[in-house]
Symmetry: C2
Subunit: 716 residues, 2 copies
Amino acid sequence: MKNKFVSFVFLLCSLSALGETGYELWLRYKPVENTRVLQSYQKNTKALIVTGSSATIIIIKEELARGIRGLLQKNISSTDKVSYDGTIIAGTIQSNSLIAKAGIDKLLLNTGDEGFIIVTRIINGKSCIIISGNSEKAVLYGTFHFLRLLQTEQSIEQLNILSTPRMKLRMLNHWDNLNRTVERGYAGFSIWNWHTLPNYIDIRYKDYARANASLGINSTVLTNVNANATILSSAYLEKVKALADVFRPYGIKVYLTARFSAPIELGQLKTADPLNAEVQNWWKEKAKEIYTYVPDFGGFLVKANSEGQPGPQDYKRTHADGANMLADAVAPFKGIVIWRAFVYSNENPVDRHKQAYDDFVPLDGTFRDNVMVQVKNGAIDFMPREPFHPIFGAMPKTPLMMEFQVTQEYLGQSTNLVFLAPLFKEVLESDTYSKGKGGTVAKVIDGSLDNHKLNGMAGVSNIGNDINWCGHPFAQANWYALGRLAWDHNLSSEQVADEWIKMTFTNKPSFVSAVKKMMLESRDIMVQYSNPIGLHHIMGTGHHYGPAPWVNNQRRPEWNPVYYHKADSVGIGFNRTETGSNALVQYQPEVRKLWSTMTDCDEKYLLWFHHVPWNFKMKSGRNLWDELCYNYYTGAERVKQMQDAWNKLKPFVDAQRFDQVRMLLKIQYDEAIWWRNACLLYFQTFSNRPIPAQYEKPDKTLDYYKSLRFPFAPGN
Amino acid sequence: MKNKFVSFVFLLCSLSALGETGYELWLRYKPVENTRVLQSYQKNTKALIVTGSSATIIIIKEELARGIRGLLQKNISSTDKVSYDGTIIAGTIQSNSLIAKAGIDKLLLNTGDEGFIIVTRIINGKSCIIISGNSEKAVLYGTFHFLRLLQTEQSIEQLNILSTPRMKLRMLNHWDNLNRTVERGYAGFSIWNWHTLPNYIDIRYKDYARANASLGINSTVLTNVNANATILSSAYLEKVKALADVFRPYGIKVYLTARFSAPIELGQLKTADPLNAEVQNWWKEKAKEIYTYVPDFGGFLVKANSEGQPGPQDYKRTHADGANMLADAVAPFKGIVIWRAFVYSNENPVDRHKQAYDDFVPLDGTFRDNVMVQVKNGAIDFMPREPFHPIFGAMPKTPLMMEFQVTQEYLGQSTNLVFLAPLFKEVLESDTYSKGKGGTVAKVIDGSLDNHKLNGMAGVSNIGNDINWCGHPFAQANWYALGRLAWDHNLSSEQVADEWIKMTFTNKPSFVSAVKKMMLESRDIMVQYSNPIGLHHIMGTGHHYGPAPWVNNQRRPEWNPVYYHKADSVGIGFNRTETGSNALVQYQPEVRKLWSTMTDCDEKYLLWFHHVPWNFKMKSGRNLWDELCYNYYTGAERVKQMQDAWNKLKPFVDAQRFDQVRMLLKIQYDEAIWWRNACLLYFQTFSNRPIPAQYEKPDKTLDYYKSLRFPFAPGN
């Protein structure tokens, strides 16, 4: 029997070694490998008490059983009274009398609606682990946190955990079109199969909700900000309802994008003027209709008067007029409106960097209470590195929502390993100096700086119907990071990476430390081989794939890379100081000071704010041109180092995911060389300086790089 | 230990009961359940001898080990000499000296290039199973056949199997666009991720090839017949090469669609005239280039002068002129050209049914030896039921390739359970009476009737990047059926279904018989609730989703459903007899006789060939209108019966697939009601007769059905 068992286990191991698809994300629940830890876990997981019959309670019960089955290889017995040490009790005070009597009431005064506690208590003389909170949703979050402790092999003895989310809205924005293409999506088709909804419920919908709940993500915008009014038709609202019904027990509210001209397109009105009574009434009736389908509908996300989208300015009204009209429509149902500040205009000759601020800051204080303004992390557009958006800290009367991009539109799309937590953290920790030192972007968006009850953080989703959800196996880490940082922006990038690696691959220390190093450096590396020293927006036109700094033939000036780098015989970079566009004036004086002179400016942002001569002496002692070469060559070289590091990790990873990452790192290296060569050859036509002799020369010509075309690049 | 083992097995079973994704297709290799059979298998699978190191040999070895590991739950030991009874020896005479000495030379005289034998022989006094053929590819086919025996619990004692394919080309046509949308695709995005090719090899490419090899499919056209010339650019040929390299060891050759105007679009020529020397030369050079990337490139599939595609007629040349030019370009490399006969013209007022015959039959004998003409199974367009295409049997000097549609464009797309083997068989068994009785379509396309060495059968793929490949779990059966019938068109639908069910679900007899009944009836049911009595092409315009017999506003007359049903106050149906379009004249007299009079015509095709009065008396005794009602109501009712039958099968199926099919059958029932009500309400406006009293009345109005819009229906 023993032999049979051993060979059977061997069989299974050999099967699983064949490959993991990645579908399980960070919720794989593989057997705990550390035997000392395992013993403690076994001792503390003897029985499970989860009472109640709501959909969320059933999910909690099933998730705990599933997690323990996978991690500890046993079926935990469900019971209703405490008979053993090691009983896990999960629920609310209302749903579970044992919890009501466990003396945790005081703790729960500090957890709000969504926070949870995980504590060890003696009940009936037995040591129990209690997972609780003031709502079932909170208990669900606690459940996933408890399982995360096991997945990352942390102690579950004498637990005393209290965790509350720092932000109210923790949100994904899907830029998914109704035809299932995904704008800036690099992981296949949209997971929303609108055609077969509402009657076919893809198991992915549930798995999506489960994955989000495991991170504390509680809101999702189903549709592209470049919106289609059809989503608001009754046929589609039935489909939306079906999704909302799946998501609800996981604590996730549904939002939709509202096309501003929907009253014309769907309602046959002649105008969409927000001050027109008929228009206002159309939206009120539409809101009422939506809430009959989805009683807890979250509200609308709106992109208006930006990149061709209709909006209130079409009728000489302000963004506030537009937002407030929609806000009034959803207010009776406690809905909110999230209005995007990502605007720039064809007709406006002012530096694009300044336009959103110019449009929105004067409106501060004029928005309804249930309006949030959603601001991208930087003023241009999700660049690999970008100074924080000057609107943060400049609209204290308006709750501002953070918009990060999880999908890697400008950061290597689906083929580059780039961990985004360092980018998110860099922005969140930036000090706006609104109200003096310490007014970080994080404090602006979590509402603590200006005392806003509405607050939150959104990430533009990187999810598609690829089997592994995100295309690149490491792209899952960015979904994970968005969720975890929205819950607690004080987590370090290192902590987030550590958790994700352990849950997604293994707890083996040598693997964890090697991969963590790769991940934590990856964003810097990407900046270095693509957009060093503050360069930005020099990628391919339209699809944004690869380098194309030479493009100068686009209809709108600010769509041309040359608009951003302004390379000439003197130097390179965008002068945004007083002698230039003066975008700097939009920042607080303390911030301005950091960046306003060429000599003192943080070199990360040097070419962002200054037009710098080719012979300018950098802190390294190199002149600017040589520094540029240094960065491009070093960035590419560091990708090679990532390849080498990964290749050494083969023993720790299943064959399928090992090979996927290996192939993708090869592509990343090729793309880094491409960025390096194309940019340096092009900028060299201005600098007229040689690439330093120690570097291998580009093996292709600038004309070759210019000739490349990618008519079917994804996500466009 | 025993307890631990049992609970461990229980754990695994409970995990697998949670759900199967369907990714494994019919190659699941689940443990054999019948213990008597299992004993025999264990006895006959003691050791494995597969010698050689070619890629195909390695695949054979791995597949046998994998199959036995899954089916028999053991690792079979690899060896190089016969020491046990129950040794499996796989290879060619060339690669394996044991096989060379096994006395099977004579058998192999009858297996051709691709056929295989599986025979039991005594070697060194031990009973061995030999899997062999005249090529490694043949051995691979034998390997999959052997594993199929185990999967379907057939005896492997005293084996004496010889199997050869009846057709040379067994092919999938992918209508996949370079942007990854799939024309008439209902299973997600294209599995070809052109953007990440050639350096990223998705594991699906290998799994795709493996699945095809398991059926004997040996050819694949990667791109849409509505072609884009970009696929012929060198950047894309590198990607094609990467796929061809993956497919080659599985015996699969790659073909591409050739856009006829490519010399203009890619080559900057002023013309694509096939008689122009520059054009001819461009294609010769292009072919040469392709073969540098893919030395065994299969050739081109061409849609020309059809539905807007460019072609030789743009230059007043014939289809033969166009095909022969391309044929000359690929001939030096043994490539072929497959030229589609699916043509009809905007300017041609003749019944669309007749146009392809009119265009192509006069060209018989004028095509080069390496040209095949690919003919859809019927003259209109993959209808739910269609008489065989009159070209079959009418071009004896030209090898004709069958084009079936595996994707269910007109047969319920991804939401209806419709098993297509009965449709394929109905066509294949149709007698063309070319050369007298017995000249079936099967004999035309397998080359036996007219002695063509080039012969084959293609299916338009239903494969996408949905996790289960085909969308509907039962759609996998249609891929399976296409492959199996291309190998042996004498297999019955019942045999094909039987194999597929056992491999895809379980061998349990009560499940197999119930599901087989559903599958074998499903196509008739679909015809009955959508297009009974010979009705055709009355579906929604463009997307072809759902009923829309009222549409009469399309630019081209033959794009309008009213063109096909011709309902009026007198009756309904398309008169294709001598008094009408006389499409019947294109068939042999014996065939014509079957269909030429209203009273004798097979009622399946009655409205296909006749305009029949509403009060015409049918064989059932009902008048035509009542018969129409009978069919629509009975068809819908039979879907209900399928639902009931499936619901009883819950104990036999994992939860995930059970639920998928349950939800889809509900949708199918709703769609059947929709077809029934919409069609009857509409045709009633002509018949002016009541729906017989025994039937429930439609609960929606004709206006309601006419108002339905599906702007984002898939596959359009």
